[in-house]
Symmetry: C2
Subunit: 231 residues, 2 copies
C-alpha cells in the first residue's frame, strides 16, 4: 500500500484525489494547502497548488518525498529539504468534465531512481501513458502545448468570428477541425499540409488577404510565410 497526501483544492488536486480513491493500492488524503499546521505523513506528498504557491507550500513540508504537478516549473522550484519529483499530467482539466485517465500522458521526473519507480507505480494505477520527462523537456513540452492547445483554439475562434460575420453556422467547420486533429496521428503534420500557402497559390492568397481585417491579415501573412519557409 502506498500512502499519498494531496495538498490543494483546484482542478488537478480534486481530479487526482477522486482518481486515487478508486485505486486499490493507494491510500489518499486530500487537504487544503492553507491548513498546514499538522501535515499527515505520507510516502508521496503532492503539491497540487497554483504555480506561484509551489515554493512557499513545499518549503513547509518535511515529508520524505514531495512532488509538484506543474508543467512550467522545474523540479528545483520545490523548496522542501527532502526528496523531490514532478508528476505532470498533460491534459486540460476543467471542474465539470470527467477526466479519462487512460488517455492522459503522465510526465514523470524524480532525482532518485527509487522515487521515480514509486511515481511510475502511482501513474500505472491510474493510466498507461507514462513518460520520463526532465525539467528542460517539460518546459519545452509546455510551450508546445501552448501552441497546439491555446493557439489552435484561438485560430478556431478566428474561424468562428469569420463565420458569424457572414451568417454561416460554425458547425460547418466542425468535421474539418476534427479531421485535421485526427490526421496527424497517422501522418506527420509537416507532410499533411495542404492549401494555398504550401501550393504557393498567390492568386488565392491575395484574394483572402483582401477580405480579412487588419489583425487577422497579419496572422494570415505570418503563418503563410512560416508554412512556405518549411519552418
Amino acid at each position: 500500500m502506498i500512502s499519498i497526501l494531496i495538498l490543494g483544492t483546484g482542478n488537478v488536486a480534486s481530479h487526482l484525489n477522486k482518481a486515487f480513491l478508486k485505486t486499490e493500492n493507494v491510500d489518499v488524503i486530500n487537504i487544503n494547502s492553507r491548513d498546514l499546521k499538522v501535515v499527515p505523513k505520507a510516502d508521496v506528498t503532492f503539491v497540487a497548488v497554483s504555480d506561484d504557491a509551489i515554493e512557499e507550500v513545499s518549503s513547509k513540508i518535511t515529508n520524505s518525498f514531495v512532488v509538484h504537478t506543474s508543467g512550467s516549473f522545474p523540479l528545483k522550484s520545490l523548496k522542501n529539504k527532502t526528496n523531490k519529483g514532478v508528476f505532470y499530467m498533460l491534459q486540460t482539466f476543467s471542474k465539470e468534465k470527467k477526466v479519462n485517465f487512460s488517455e492522459v500522458p503522465f510526465c514523470l521526473e524524480a532525482e532518485r531512481i527509487s522515487d521515480y519507480m514509486l511515481l511510475e507505480t502511482l501513474a500505472k494505477s491510474l493510466g498507461s501513458k507514462i513518460y520520463n520527462i526532465n525539467s528542460k523537456q517539460r518546459i519545452s513540452l509546455h510551450i508546445a502545448a501552448v501552441f497546439v492547445n491555446n493557439f489552435t483554439n484561438h485560430i478556431y475562434k478566428i474561424g468562428n468570428d469569420i463565420c458569424k460575420k457572414n451568417n454561416i453556422p460554425f458547425e460547418i467547420l466542425h468535421p474539418l477541425i476534427k479531421e485535421t486533429a485526427i490526421k496527424i496521428e497517422s501522418l506527420p503534420p509537416g507532410i499533411a499540409q495542404t492549401g494555398p500557402a504550401v501550393r504557393k497559390d498567390l492568386k488565392t492568397i491575395k484574394k483572402h488577404l483582401e477580405l480579412l481585417d487588419k489583425e487577422n491579415k497579419k496572422i494570415y501573412k505570418i503563418l503563410t510565410k512560416s508554412i512556405q519557409n518549411g519552418n
Copy 2:
C-alpha cells in the same frame, strides 16, 4: 432517376463518382475533362477540375445545368451559357483515404430554385449535412477553412518540431490536440480559451519567448497579443 456527368480525374471527381455509383436514384458517368469532343447529356454536369480550369472547361459545355465543386471560386466563374450552380464539399479529400460522406457538409448554390432542389436531392443521396451557401459566404468559409485546417496543421508542426528538438515523443501531445478539437463542439472557442495569454501570466510568457527561435517567437507574440485583444 437523375443523370449526372462528372468531368475530372482528381480526388473530388473520383470520390464523388464512387459515392454516386452506390446510390439508387442517380446514374453517373465520369470522364476526363480533356476529352470533351462528345459530351454525354446529363441533368447535372459536375466540373470537378482544378480551380484554374473551371472557366475553360465550363465554356465548352452545352448541357442544361453545370456546377463546379470549388470553395474559392464564385458561381459566375462558370462560363457555360446554360444554368449554373455550386456543389462544394467542405472536407479534405485525399486519394488513399475513404470519405465518410455522412460527416461531410454540402454547401450548395444555384441561380434557380428548381436547380437548387436538384442539388439538394443529390446531396441527400450521399449525406445529411446540407447548407445553402452563396458565393460571398463560400469565399469566407474557405478563408475560415484555411485558418482551422492549414494554419492549425502548421501549428501542430511547430509543436512537433519543438518536441523533436528536445527528444520528446510528439504522441504525448495527441490527446491534448484531440481534446482541443472536440471541446469546441460543446463550448464556443472564445469561451474555451485557457493558458498564459488569456491569464495575462507575463512571467510564463517571458520564459516561453526566451526559449523559442526567431520565427516561432514572432508567431507566439502575435497570437498571444490577438488572444489578449479578444479579437
